[in-house]
């Protein structure tokens, strides 16, 4: 099978392999079974069977059930997408493409909408505290700040402070420790970034929702998602989630007249994210 649908499914199997490679804490038996299943699912005989996708969906859900309080959000997203492939499966490839695209669109609106709601409900996020901490701690944009000596020195001093604060002799006598006042400008960036993220995710959810009916909104949604993906690729090492999200975006292009360029950018960006995720595991 060398149809676009088959290659989309093979790309999904590759996402599953990245997921398994990056999930070290699950039992070896599960990891071997899941990886073997994802590789076998790429073969022409298994790729075109609905049961293959149900088995893979059950395997992903097992990872969630093994440790429900430790499972990351990309575990859940992968489960929903695998289940969507199985549920929408049809021998009529056109119909399957259309239905999988609709399921992916629904999930994208759901993920971005819920993520926006969670941010709006979190006081630590909305006042800028959380993203300011990430900026001070060097948890965002490492590839950039490590190349600017003044910024690197400032972040190193903040990291030292946070490390010392995290390891007191008695927590009752160490309830607060002021950050250096000279770094207060980071607070301004933190607040600006907070609103950029909330609005960005909210707009992506809205555009994908409108994109079901309006073609211009659909194209704008894809462009916004790709910008979000490119930003995330350089700002934070969340490559498994990013790879999954980009596959979902590419799947939405199936069964619709979407510019080929968008699909190519999804494949390119998704491949980079997947390779970086694997490189981080290997190196």
């Amino acid at each position: 099978m060398s149809t676009p649908q088959a290659w989309t499914l093979r790309a999904f199997c590759a996402v599953l392999l990245v997921f398994v490679a990056s999930t070290a804490r699950h039992p070896a038996a599960w990891r071997i079974a899941m990886a073997s299943g994802a590789i076998l699912a790429m073969t022409p005989w298994l790729i075109s069977r609905r049961l293959t996708w149900w088995i893979l969906a059950a395997s992903v859900s097992a990872a969630i059930l093994l440790s429900p309080l430790s499972a990351a959000n990309h575990h859940y997203l992968l489960f929903y997408l695998t289940a969507a492939i199985a549920l929408t499966w049809s021998d009529d490839q056109e119909q399957w493409s259309t239905d999988l695209g609709r399921a992916s669109r629904g999930l994208m609106v759901g993920v971005m909408g819920i993520a926006t709601l969670q941010k709006l409900l979190s006081p630590d996020f909305m006042d800028g505290s959380f993203l300011t901490f990430l900026l001070l701690d060097g948890g965002l944009g490492e590839v950039f700040w490590q190349r600017i000596p003044a910024l690197e020195a400032a972040i190193s001093s903040a990291q030292d402070l946070f490390t010392r604060f995290a390891d007191p002799i008695d927590p009752r006598r160490a309830t607060a420790r002021a950050a250096p006042a000279r770094l207060m400008v980071m607070g301004t960036f933190g607040v600006m970034l907070t609103w950029l993220v909330v609005l960005g995710e909210g707009v992506i959810a809205l555009l994908f929702g409108l994109g079901a009916r309006f073609k211009k909104a659909d194209i704008a949604a894809h462009v916004a998602l790709l910008c979000f993906g490119a930003g995330l690729l350089f700002m934070r090492a969340e490559h498994v989630f990013l790879t999954t999200l980009l596959w979902s975006g590419a799947a939405m292009c199936l069964g619709r007249e979407t510019p080929t360029l968008l699909w190519k950018v999804y494949v390119g960006l998704g491949s980079i994210a997947a390779l970086v995720a694997l490189a981080r595991v290997i190196l």
């Binding site: 499972a71 959000n73 607070g187």
Partner: protein
């Protein structure tokens, strides 16, 4: 017509399941203090990671941090000693309720000299421009645990 409805159910079902699970997670965050990062609610990056929850163990009035999820902390006794302690620590941090704390103490901290266990949460407060630490849970039930053990011994045939 029926076929169209069936198709719609099939492609909307994953979204419905996602919304149900996320609603449960959001309710648990607000009712039980579960972390937003876990439970399928897509609340990652909305607050500090649960690794910033500290577990403090007291012998008398002397505290010692049980574990820290970040290097270069070198854990010292007492250590969590139960089946899969790393997973138990992750679960306790993800759902830091009194019941979780008591269960963790009973299962993973057999040392009888421990008199109290506390959970503290670190966060950055932009208004104070400071890292702050506050106690979120504590358990001080050595006496009741002893009483419970005595009760179980009495109940035994």
């Amino acid at each position: 017509m029926m076929t169209d409805r069936y198709r719609r159910v099939r492609y909307l079902l994953p979204l419905v399941v996602m919304l149900v699970i996320a609603s449960i997670q959001i309710a648990r965050v607000h009712l039980y203090g579960q972390t937003r990062w876990r439970g399928g609610g897509f609340g990652m990056y909305t607050e500090l990671h649960p690794n910033h929850i500290e577990i403090w163990v007291y012998r008398g009035d002397k505290p010692r941090q049980l574990d820290r999820a970040h290097i270069p902390f070198a854990p010292q006794p007492p250590l969590a000693s139960c089946k899969d302690p790393d997973e138990r620590l992750r679960e306790l941090r993800a759902l830091p309720t009194k019941a979780s704390l008591d269960a963790f103490w009973a299962d993973c901290l057999p040392d009888p000299t421990i008199t109290r266990v506390e959970l503290w949460r670190r966060r950055f407060d932009i208004e104070r421009w400071a890292m702050v630490r506050s106690r979120v849970r504590s358990s001080e039930h050595a006496a009741s645990r002893s009483a419970g053990d005595s009760q179980r011994e009495e109940d035994a045939p």
